[in-house]
Amino acid sequence: MNPGKTEFKTDSELPEEEYSEFLNTLNEYSVKFPPEYVVQSTMNILQQYIPQRKNSLSRLKEKSSALFFAALRESVLISWQYWFFCAVLFILGFILIVMVNVNLFTTAALLSPIPFVAGLMEVLRGRDQGMTELESTCKHSFREIILSRLLITGVYSILLNGILASALTLAYPNTLLSKLVLIWLTPLSFVSSLSLWAAVYLKGIYGAASILSLWVSAVLIIQGIPGLTELLASVSFLTYAAMIFAALILFFFGVQRLAAKQYSGRERWLNHGTDG
């Protein structure tokens, strides 16, 4: 024990005599209980310093608007080549379907995840260009930055796919829009989730490039097997919905893994320089 410290005993350890003596000493001091109005006025004064708990709806609203503005801010970071390349790809896809008569469903499915997967390179550009360390010390959190960039690429993917689906329904009035939506939404959600997981472990460009090439190869193989495309097109709505749901869960955990575990991930990403 530290010799300078007094050793205090608990009341159960004090001998009876010593305990009552101790109580008597304490009883010599009288502390008046404050009147009710003093208690109340103290509470009133302190009330203003108690942070107001916001209800969950207003918190959600606040978070969503913060994310929206963050997405707007981050959109300037995304290169024009990305916007341009993806738009051109979808226009080309439409032209090929209409002019060359390539399979409508296969083309829509093939194109659907490309904007998101390519966008991942933009999402993780900060990490790949050594900006993580600096961005992590700014007011807006690292998690917010990643989420807002994912939001932009996600919205852009859905927008392009939506426009393509609408244009195809107009060009081919017999095509069922809901079926077309399922056909692009399923690979979009699945391939995007896989690419997100790949991005956690690989540098943006390698993760995205490997997933994209795997996806293109898979589509080509499927197309090469006679009857498989038709079989996939005839799969029930519920099966597609279940696959989309599973993919969304995978996506959600992928985002968590990428953004929420800031410290462990960031420490790994910090080793850009000579720090050891």
Binding site: R73, G126, G130, M131, L134, S136, K139, G273, T274, G276
Partner: protein
């Protein structure tokens, strides 16, 4: 305003990069000096809250910076040692982007960007892509972004690396101008920078805080330990065998040598005028061992 490092430690595997670092920063300029691998960068990364300490806490005005989170980042300006930059951005775009991340109002950000571009002498290169910048220009841009939010705590890791002498002087003057009421912590290898800028010097070695104090007070500890002498070239080796030798200056016919000795040597010497560089050499014996140094911690 107070920033307290409370028995701070960071371990990587079995190795402690920073150990038992205990100090309080109040407004003023502090220079962290130490060789590569002394733990400066690790300490700085903990101070800016991007590395979790293995042991200890960092408190800002008594509150843990891990809990303050956004509130702490709001008053922070930081220049990392290895500054990554978006190469397809122009300098102006980059500063506006960082302003947005710092949550600054657009009008204020524009004004501050223009002001800082002037301050760091990048006004003419403002519309150039960062990819075309020299190392010194990138470093100046890095300094500018750290100052955007007029931070109460400014932490700069090797801010003068890559700057030419004129830019270094400009940087020193800038720090002297803006430091009032702020906590400025900078790490450096360049002892003369620290000598000019810092009100307090902290020497770090192997993750430990070795010595801390005002330059004049630190130099006092060296009084009577550094001597100056003139010798012939052929005597240098013999002198090195007996004493730790610091600076050597070749004059016409002989060598001017500074050496470390706890007692006045028996041959003709005179007490040397002391500088922080002597103190650095005294602690780190850098001249002979420079090639042996490992990577920065």
């Amino acid at each position: 305003m107070e920033l307290t490092a409370n028995r701070l430690g960071k371990r990587y595997g079995q190795n402690w990069a920073v150990e038992d670092f205990d100090t309080t920063f109040t407004p003023g300029v502090y220079a962290l000096i130490g060789p590569n691998g002394s733990g400066k960068t690790t300490l700085i990364r903990m101070l800016v809250n991007i590395l979790k300490p293995t042991l200890g806490r960092i408190l800002f005005n008594g509150k843990d910076i891990a809990n303050l989170d956004e509130q702490y980042r709001d008053i922070l300006g930081y220049l990392p040692q290895h500054l990554g930059l978006y190469k397809n951005f122009t300098a102006e775009q980059f500063l506006m982007y960082i302003s947005a991340l710092k949550g600054l109002d657009k009008k204020y950000a524009l004004k501050k960007t223009n002001e800082l571009m002037e301050t760091v002498n990048l006004k003419e290169a403002g519309r150039k892509k960062i990819g075309q910048f020299s190392g010194g220009m990138k470093q100046r841009l890095g300094i500018a972004q750290a100052l955007l939010n007029d931070p109460k705590i400014l932490i700069l890791d090797e801010p003068t690396a890559g700057l030419d002498p004129k830019e270094r002087i400009r940087f020193r003057n800038l720090i002297a101008e803006i430091a009032g009421g702020k906590i400025v912590i900078l790490s450096t290898h360049i002892v003369s920078d620290a000598e000019y800028i810092a009100g307090e010097i902290m020497f770090m070695k192997n993750g430990f805080l070795l010595q801390k104090g005002q330059p004049s007070a630190l130099l006092k500890t060296l009084e009577g330990k550094i001597w100056q002498t003139q010798i012939r070239e052929e005597d240098l080796q013999r002198l090195k065998e007996t004493y730790r030798v610091g600076h050597i200056l070749r004059t016409n016919s002989c060598l001017d040598v500074r050496l470390f000795a706890e007692m006045r040597p028996s041959f003709a010497v005179s007490p040397a005028t002391l500088g922080l560089e002597d103190l650095y050499l005294y602690h780190f014996d850098e001249i002979d061992k420079q090639s042996e140094t490992g990577p920065e911690k």
